[in-house]
């Protein structure tokens, strides 16, 4: 078990997502930054779908109640193990009673904690990812416990990796969405000629963009959306749906973020700059 001494701002269990229920309106959920989690799980020689903790902005204080191996990745959050600084993308052996805590957020927005074998909390509809009301809670609270399987005999093939960080990247590669063709030349100019500010209204459901572009009167019938779909509201607001985003929507879907662009945006917070690049 991992005991949550202090929950931090928004800490959740996430795996690769909940699939095959989108047609019933269930968002896919799952880790926001798949590229980082792939590296963390690879280091621990876990399955790609192994569940991790997604730690947002302000980290929790956690106590390990069993032996295991752990690794961190993603945002730089001044993590310490028993008060000694530790690095991202490095495997650490954990003893009973070890305490993991986080300090100042230096870069990025979401950090990921993996343990050998992954967290083993209950699967609901094929996934451990938190999403209320599919799961009873939407985030971890003080004194919660998250189960994992005791593991003492792991010998990591590689104990540390150097990664090409994308935390400073700000160009979001996009392809044309289904309603792209409805955009006017003026819209295209506005979208692709300048950069934008990430609004403070951002969460696992959607990231809003602060600046608006020209309003429009395009209408469409409600239709499927994806994580990474950029919607344009009639008032000219850009909304990027993320992993907990609704499965259908009625606003024109003008762009679609690449898988990598979703990861880049997932590491942004209110006030950060981004731009769209059509590929």
């Amino acid at each position: 078990m991992l005991k949550v001494l202090k929950a931090g701002f928004y800490t959740t269990v996430q795996d690769s997502g909940r699939f095959h229920f989108r047609n019933k309106g269930v968002p896919v959920s799952g880790v926001m930054d798949e590229m980082t989690v792939f590296k963390v799980n690879s280091l621990l020689e876990n399955e790609v779908s192994a569940a991790v903790l997604e730690i947002t902005m302000t980290g929790p204080t956690l106590m390990f109640e069993e032996e295991t191996y752990m690794a961190l990745g993603g945002a730089e959050m001044s993590a310490t193990l028993n008060n000694l600084p530790i690095q991202n993308y490095k495997v650490y052996q954990i003893e009973v009673g070890d305490i993991l805590s986080f300090g100042r957020l230096d870069k990025g927005f979401r950090s990921y904690l993996g343990v050998r074998g992954g967290f083993t909390s209950k699967e609901i509809l094929g996934s451990r990812s938190f999403y209320k009301p599919i799961t009873k809670v939407n985030r971890l609270c003080d004194n919660d416990v998250v189960p994992f399987i005791y593991n003492k005999l792991f010998q990591p093939k590689i104990s540390e990796i150097k990664v090409d960080s994308f935390l400073d990247d700000y160009k979001l590669e996009v392809s044309k969405g289904p309603e792209f063709y409805l955009l006017t030349d003026r819209h295209l100019e506005e979208i692709f000629s300048k950069s934008f500010t990430v609004a403070h209204e951002n969460n696992r459901m959607a990231y809003q963009i602060k600046e608006t572009i020209s309003s429009h009167e395009m209408s469409m019938l409600t239709s499927a959306t994806l994580p990474g779909t950029v919607q344009l509201t009639p008032a000219g607001k850009l909304i990027v749906l993320m992993k907990d985003g609704q499965t259908t929507g009625g606003y024109p879907r003008i762009l679609q973020l690449s898988d990598k662009a979703i990861c880049i945006l997932a590491q942004k917070r209110g006030g950060d700059r981004v731009s769209f690049k059509l590929v």
Binding site: F21, N23, S175, A224, G228, Q246, T248
Partner: protein, 245 residues
């Protein structure tokens, strides 16, 4: 009758969107549901494929695969040309019990006044028609129902409620629906459905599929309470009638 024309669009690298003419039509919806069944049985049978039908579109998504758009478009067009009108997909009519008790029907009085009708007339109009499920989205299990009687059209509330309870039956504009769980919402609430539309503890968490039909019937407050208890222990089954039979 010929199948309506389709338009296939790329939507990211893992999915494609098939679109039909932009109109709300029973014929189009039935064609979409039929094609969805055909695709699942004959074209993309691996379990990684998911499909999301809605009004005039069908999304095909495979998160583990980068789709070759040219090839898949060709395959979809070939498959669509083989689709036969006579192959009717399985669809069901669900009869759902609603209590219009004023404790639940928070806006019944206001709706009746706005439409210049009595409350029994409002209830009779709401229960006196068959609705079509054109989409499920917005929230898990939230149905977009078409078929509301024109005389029952009333604008959404000027100020949305921060909290609408689970099971609340609402109407707004041309739309009708049920809130599958507690959420904020701006629809006029006229009753509460005793059957849970979405239950995450079930293997199939939502018995309704896009393309199905819904009818509401009035129950008393006592029946509502009984259904609730039955649903709690898992013995309540909503009434289901096979269509196209």
């Amino acid at each position: 009758m010929n199948s309506p024309a389709i338009n296939i669009k790329p939507f990211g690298v893992h999915s494609v969107l098939i679109e039909w003419p932009h109109e709300v039509s029973e014929h189009i919806l039935e064609t979409i549901i039929g094609f969805q069944t055909y695709i699942r049985l004959n074209m993309f049978t691996e379990k990684d494929w998911e499909m999301v039908p809605s009004y005039n579109s069908l999304l095909l998504v495979n998160r583990k695969m980068t789709i070759d758009f040219e090839k898949i478009s060709k395959d979809i067009n070939v498959g669509y040309s083989k689709l036969k009108e006579s192959e009717k997909p399985e669809r069901y009519l669900w009869r759902l019990p609603v209590s219009y008790d004023l404790e639940f029907g928070l806006d019944l009085d206001e709706v009746a006044k706005k439409l210049n009708k009595s409350i029994p007339e409002i209830i009779a109009m709401h229960t006196g028609t068959t609705y079509t499920v054109y989409g499920i989205g917005f929230l898990p299990g939230f149905m977009y129902l078409g078929g509301l009687l024109k005389d029952l059209e009333v604008p959404r509330k000027a100020t949305p409620r921060l909290k609408v309870v689970k099971g609340a039956v609402g109407i707004a504009g041309k739309q009708a629906g049920i809130y599958p769980q507690e959420s904020p919402g701006g629809w006029n609430i006229i009753g509460n459905c005793s059957v849970p539309i979405f239950d995450a503890s079930k293997e199939n968490p939502c018995f309704v599929n896009v393309g199905d039909k819904i009818e509401f019937y009035q129950i008393s407050r006592a029946e509502y309470d009984l259904h609730k208890i039955e649903a709690e222990v898992g013995i309540y089954k909503p009434e289901k009638i096979k269509l196209n039979a």
